[in-house]
């Protein structure tokens, strides 16, 4: 199941063999450890004009003891380069981006970060030049992603009017090892209905005091989500079908929360989840809809029962549960709903029409809820994580050739780990990230599939 090729080519012997033969050497990715530094090395920060966000990022990094440079150093590596184009008004201003980033690319550390910050193209009004420069950033970032080496990633953060005070959690996430498998993604940060996003009392435990529910927690990505949320301070209610109870008990016990054996398709599943979280643990702050099934079959050969079963578990049950979860008094104000979509829902996959229907449907649901004024007023965020190729029991069962191809057709030339998906879920669960809602972020290492 694990990526032995990557392990081999990063070993002392394997390194030699790979470079002699000129075969690809996927890097060992830098990942987050609790209490570890945000970045190991200095950061080049630049921007066009006022570059207010460059100033904000510089202040944030200074506060963490990370050295910032306005130009690339004469020698040595840089851990990251940040370019703020939010003040750009015309495509000529893109020269600043080139001037800041291009020299840094050659000096970028392994697992380095390229972060471009811009303003939202949707808020460019009818100004064609403004629209052009803001939208061009996405094309640039996607291309940079395909050029980077040694596990480095490039991402774009778009800041809407009034969203600047809420950008810190996203900048931290992109620069840290938590986003190891998030590459060439675009995240929009907006304003809150009132106030600004709050920072946690203890940065090492941003979810301290929070109660989270994770469905499908007995194994795989769900179990990893439960582990990561617990690591960052949350009390996690682990939910899965009664038939998965044995594995569920193991996950619940190692995390110290509780196990709730529940079939999510039952009509009162949402009510029971809310009741369990509120009576047993005194609140409900985070809900992660991760439980899902696949029943792969070519659409030409799919009957109604098979079709329905996938939609029922993966999408219909989530819509039903959310009615109870999003009702007033259920999910606490300022809470977060995170939904597990999939690359399959974005790019499609042969034999997965039903699965893709449900996973694309979840994206539509998230985007609709992101526009909901009442949820915005309550400060509740709803977002989706779309994993690409993740090394799990499920992908481990794929035929060898399909699996090898699946894990290589991305910019990082390797599959992601369940923890990479879990870290992205955790980031969406932070109160500090309240400015991000209605978004879909892929955890795919910049997969070549889909845009």
């Amino acid at each position: 199941m694990s990526d032995t090729y990557t392990q081999f080519v990063n070993s002392p012997v394997g390194k030699q063999v790979a470079s002699r033969l000129g075969i690809p050497r996927p890097a060992s990715l830098r990942r987050y450890t609790r209490g570890g530094p945000l970045l190991d090395g200095s950061v080049v920060v630049g921007g066009y004009g006022d570059a207010p966000l460059a100033k904000r990022v510089t202040a944030m990094l200074d506060a963490e003891g990370i050295s910032t440079l306005s130009e690339v150093p004469a020698s040595g590596k840089v851990a990251a380069v940040v370019a703020d184009l939010s003040a750009a008004t015309s495509p000529e201003h893109l020269e600043t981006l080139r001037a800041v980033i291009a020299p840094a690319l050659k000096l970028l550390s392994p697992s380095g970060r390229v972060l471009v910050i811009g303003a939202s193209p949707e808020q460019a009004g009818t100004d064609p030049a403004l629209g052009a420069v803001r939208r061009s950033l996405e094309g640039i970032v996607r291309s940079i992603g395909k050029e980077l080496r040694a596990g480095a990633t490039a991402n774009l953060v778009l800041v809407e009017d009034g969203g600047e005070p809420n950008v810190d959690a996203t900048v931290r996430f992109v620069l840290s090892g938590r986003s190891a498998y998030v590459d060439a993604q675009v995240v929009s940060v907006g304003p809150l209905e009132q106030g600004v996003a709050s920072e946690p009392a203890d940065p090492a435990r941003p979810l301290a005091g929070k109660v989270a529910v994770v469905t499908g927690a007995a194994r795989g990505i769900g179990a990893s989500i439960a582990d990561v949320l617990t690591r960052d301070g949350a009390t996690v209610v682990c939910v899965d079908m009664p038939a998965a109870g044995e594995a569920l008990a193991v996950v619940a016990n190692r995390n110290g929360g509780s196990a709730l054996q529940l079939d999510v398709t039952t009509p009162d599943a949402g009510l029971r989840i809310v009741e369990h979280a509120r009576t047993r643990h005194g609140g409900l702050d985070i809900v992660v809809h991760n439980a899902a099934i696949t029943r792969d079959r070519l659409l030409a050969n799919t009957d109604a029962a098979r079709w329905h079963s996938v939609l029922e578990v993966n999408l219909l049950s989530v819509l039903r549960m959310d009615e109870a979860i999003l009702a007033p008094g259920a999910l606490d104000d300022g809470g977060h709903v995170v939904v597990l979509s999939s690359m399959s829902g974005i790019a499609g996959n042969r034999g997965q029409s039903s699965y893709a229907a449900s996973k694309a449907g979840l994206i539509g649901m998230v985007e609709a809820l992101g526009r909901d004024g009442e949820l915005r007023r309550r400060g509740i965020t709803v977002n989706a994580v779309a994993p690409g190729f993740i090394e799990t029991e499920m992908t481990g069962r794929m035929p060898f050739a399909t699996r090898e191809m699946g894990r290589r057709i991305n910019s990082l030339a390797q599959g992601g780990l369940p923890v990479d998906v879990a870290e992205t879920v955790e980031w969406f669960s932070q109160d500090a990230n309240a400015g991000v809602t209605g978004q879909v972020v892929r955890v795919c290492g910049q997969s070549m599939l889909g845009a």
């Binding site: 998965a244 109870g245 196990a259 709730l260 079939d263």
Partner: protein, 435 residues
């Protein structure tokens, strides 16, 4: 309708039953053939810990046991606790009262809670008839001890020279009463004949047990009472499509001649499994945000002299009941639910007949009038041992937890009666009250 008295007869502080956990029961030498009592007990405790969020916590104590027990399992319950997610500073001890073990442990910890010695506890038991303890032949064992104690090599060799080929056959536990040489089924057959329990009545009771257990599974009754184990999600002795007419086709296995009415279908099979009950005070429950399902009201044990034929082996509960009823101030009809362990269908039916019988109640129990009949529609309403199977020490916990949930659903103040017979001519009865 049960009287409204809510205080238990044990004193002002009473033990609440907060829930429990069991693993599905498996017919022996099947799904659980490689599981030990310690494995099953540990898994059962861990499932309970996960359900109630007790990982890393110390509870007051854990009391459990196993009937068929290896000598290496002398500290079975304590070892299970050490292997579980409970805090390792949780005390534990073993209890053995044959099939009464699971209920006896509940009584014992409930008493400690009522006395204020502990605030919370787990009680239950485990049994496997697959992973049986096999002992050395008794003569070989004594010879080896002599050889071990001998001081000189010559003496050792002389001791060992006493070994004969026949000594090499091991001693397998036999399912018979040591003093009568009869199996439990053979004893029960005598009692069933005495009470004239018909084959039809037994098969009907057995069929109901399967049908009601299947219905309980189908509506999700066990979703928060059970954790799967080794691939099983349901008791695998359950036959949802059982009917009295199908059971009528089985040949008798106990008793002889036309009076033989007991078959494999209306007797419990050898089974493996484990169950645990979670008990605590109201305050402990509130501190853990748990809702009591029921309260332990009172319990009573009795024993009969079956060796000299004074009474049937499995009739002891019949003697315990009037003592308990007197203490809790109830009549036999006052209960919302009756859980009578179905060691054999004929056990339940003989016991019910005894309670209805004026001569038995006057002559044997010393009562002025018979205890009377029960409403059969309140008996074992979610199935019982004939369907679920009967791992000896696990049955008490299974019944206590299921009944507590049923009483909670019925309503505050509802009452349930538990009756369990045990090898060695013993029996236990208990009363629970819905919270």
């Amino acid at each position: 309708m049960a009287p409204s008295a809510s205080a238990s007869t044990l004193g002002p502080r009473r033990a609440a039953i907060l829930g429990g956990n069991r693993i599905p029961f498996a017919r022996s030498n099947g799904a659980y053939v490689r599981a030990s009592n310690q494995d099953m007990l540990t898994a059962t405790i861990d499932g309970l810990v996960a359900r109630f969020g007790l990982a890393g916590e110390r509870v007051g104590e854990v009391a459990a046991g196993a009937v068929l027990k290896h000598s290496r399992d002398f500290n079975l319950t304590r070892e299970a606790v050490l292997g579980s997610a409970l805090d390792p500073t949780t005390p534990a001890y073993d209890v053995q009262q044959a099939c009464g073990t699971g209920l006896e442990t509940t009584v014992l910890v409930a008493n400690k809670i009522a006395l204020g010695q502990i605030d919370s506890a787990l009680a239950g038991g485990s049994d496997t008839a697959s992973d049986v303890p096999i002992a050395l032949n008794e003569d070989l064992r004594k010879t080896l001890i002599r050889a071990n104690n001998a001081k000189t090599t010559g003496a050792k060799i002389r001791a060992l020279a006493g070994v004969r080929p026949t000594h090499l056959a091991p001693e397998v536990p036999r399912n018979v009463e040591p003093r009568t040489g009869l199996s439990m089924g053979e004893h029960m057959a005598i009692t069933a004949k005495e009470w004239g329990v018909s084959r039809e009545a037994q098969d009907e009771l057995a069929a109901f047990s399967h049908q009601h257990l299947a219905a309980a599974y189908d509506r999700g009754f066990f979703d928060d009472l059970m954790t799967p184990y080794l691939g099983l999600t349901r008791d695998n002795n359950l036959r949802a499509d059982s009917t009295a007419s199908k059971l009528a086709m089985l040949a008798p296995v106990f008793g002889r001649g036309e009076g033989a009415t007991m078959t494999a279908g209306n007797s419990t099979p050898l089974t493996d499994g484990a169950s645990m009950v979670l008990l605590g005070t109201d305050e402990w429950a509130a501190a853990h945000q748990l809702t009591p399902l029921a309260y332990f009201v009172d319990g009573q044990a009795a024993a009969v002299d079956y060796v000299h034929g004074a009474e049937g082996l499995l009739m002891a509960p019949a003697y315990a009941l009037p003592v308990l009823l007197g203490r809790v101030g109830m009549s036999l009809q006052d209960f919302d639910y009756y859980e009578i362990h179905e060691a054999f269908a004929s056990t339940v039916l003989s016991t019910l007949k005894a309670w209805e019988d004026p001569d038995f109640c006057k002559g044997r129990l010393g009562l002025d009038s018979p205890l009377g009949s029960i409403d059969r529609s309140r008996l074992n309403v979610n199935g019982s041992s004939l369907a679920a199977g009967h791992p000896f020490a696990a049955t008490g916990g299974r019944i206590v937890v299921s009944l507590a949930k049923m009483l909670h659903e019925k309503g505050q103040g509802s009452r349930g009666l538990i009756s369990i017979c045990a090898a060695g001519g013993q029996g236990l009865v208990a009363v629970l009250e819905g919270a």
